[in-house]
């Protein structure tokens, strides 16, 4: 893919070791040191933030790399290991034993004893892995909340042709300086109501009543109208938005499939912001996936194939549309 102006959201901070000189007369581990730490049934990469003696014992405050600060905790040296090849092998062995791909980081054993229903377990790493944290035998702390997911990213599969649509969308706007002509037809309102029509014709509808399907569609509509200006616009589209959505005009009446699709990129984050039962989440995802398939089926009618050349020029003559 040509072009150097890629909008990249993988803005993870690189963990750089502080490079403090180890204090040889102190404990085994030093501040800033990268270590391997036991937590629950598995071993994780961590960094020692602080090292102190308490009650004649060395205690280390560790941060688990790639995980939210909420998980940081004081541990004793029995929980830590030097970051050596040998110990990394141990880590991999435990990963295998758990029967889980390392990238999934299912931290079922990590539910903290005092977690309240409002604790948000967000990863600081933008590479969301969509784990479920299912209860496993042998987990130390098994809590009622294990069945309800909070703050964990919800994985939604976007069909490949729609993914390509998003890339083309990016290409047109970011690389080619184009904009989508507004208002769109069909707009989001229309697309959603067409979906409800389509939904009522199908058998089963994922075992959901029309009311329930409608509730989900209403949820999408609500999200769309609230978050379009907050997180669904490229910078270059902001001016257009200000001009197009005035008074009590709703975004869903103005924008169409292109921006609705972008909502699906953000849905995992949005849906992760509150707790939902596992089973309910599964049914919800089925419905959302069904909706995406519907979009895919109607890709040629819902989406634009070419965008307008942007009218924002400095010092150039206004060009005609393609």
């Amino acid at each position: 893919m040509g072009g150097s102006l890629k909008d990249d959201d993988s803005a993870t901070d690189s963990d750089d070791l502080k490079g403090d000189l180890p204090n040889a007369t102190s404990g085994v581990f030093v501040e800033g040191e990268k270590v391997l730490a036991y937590h629950g049934p598995r071993i994780y990469e961590a960094k020692v933030q602080k090292a102190e003696i308490r009650k004649n014992e060395w205690r280390y405050f560790v941060h688990y790399l790639g995980w939210n600060k909420n998980w940081d905790e004081w541990v004793g040296k029995d929980r830590l290991m030097k970051y050596s090849d040998e110990n990394v092998l141990k880590q991999q062995a435990l990963d295998k034993k758990q029967g889980v791909d390392k990238n999934q980081k299912a931290r079922a054993g990590h539910t903290r004893p005092k977690v309240s229903t409002d604790v948000k377990l967000e990863k600081e790493d933008s590479r969301n892995t969509g784990t479920k944290g299912k209860k496993r035998k042998g987990d130390i702390e098994v809590e009622k909340e294990d069945d309800a997911q909070v703050g964990k990213p919800v994985k939604i599969q976007i069909p490949p042709t729609l993914k390509k649509q998003l890339v083309d969308d990016w290409e047109s706007i970011i690389q080619q300086d184009k904009l989508i002509k507004l208002p769109r037809s069909p707009n989001v309102d229309t697309i959603l109501s067409k979906y409800m029509e389509y939904n009522s014709l199908k058998d089963g509808s994922q075992g959901m009543t029309t009311d329930q399907s409608q509730e989900i569609v209403n949820g999408l509509l609500c999200y769309f109208n609230k978050v379009l200006p907050v997180m669904l616009l490229y910078k270059k589209e902001r001016q257009q938005y200000i001009e197009a959505v005035v008074g009590d005009v709703s975004p869903s009446a103005t924008y169409g499939a292109e921006h609705l699709l972008r909502l699906f990129v953000k849905l995992p984050d949005l849906l992760g912001k509150f707790k939902m039962e596992e089973e309910t989440l599964i049914r919800l995802k089925q419905k959302l996936n069904d909706f995406l398939k519907f979009m895919q089926k109607n890709q040629s009618t819902f989406f634009l194939s070419t965008y307008d050349v942007s009218k924002v020029y400095e010092g150039f003559e206004k060009e005609e549309d393609d």
Binding site: K226, V265, K273
Partner: protein, 127 residues
């Protein structure tokens, strides 16, 4: 389906289904039973609120939260509930109009960020 409720000590046995062909406890004709069942539903609803806090019912997630509540009740009683039915039930206990969105939501909505297509979309193979 056999409905057993430990909370109120009501048990509906299978043999009874011949007398009450409709398995829906709420449509039972006898009034004391009906009241009891209503109470059961209300109790379950309050239980459900532990997972789906009220405050989430007034913000941007409210439709999905309501969906969750509806699912919870459906599974508890093995019968259909409609989202509007659930809202009506809630209305008996709470003044839903007085709810305010929580801080977390205000935070989401106050921070404009430019849309960014994640790196994974640009990669041809599936990760």
């Amino acid at each position: 389906m056999k409905l057993v409720s430990g909370e109120n000590g009501i048990e509906e046995e299978e043999g009874m289904s011949s007398h009450f062909p409709c398995k829906n406890p709420l449509s039972s004709s006898s009034s004391p039973d009906k009241e009891q069942s209503q109470v059961e539903v209300e109790l379950k609803l309050l239980e459900a609120l532990e997972i789906y806090p009220l405050v989430k019912l007034c913000g941007i997630h409210r439709h999905f939260v309501l969906f969750g509540l509806t699912e919870y009740l459906q599974r508890s009683f093995s019968r259909q509930f409609s989202p509007s039915e659930v809202l009506q039930l809630l209305d008996r206990f709470y003044n839903l109009e007085m709810l305010q969105p929580d801080d977390e939501e205000i935070e989401i909505l106050n921070r404009d960020t430019d849309f960014c297509l994640p790196q994974s979309f640009f990669v041809k193979e599936e990760p």
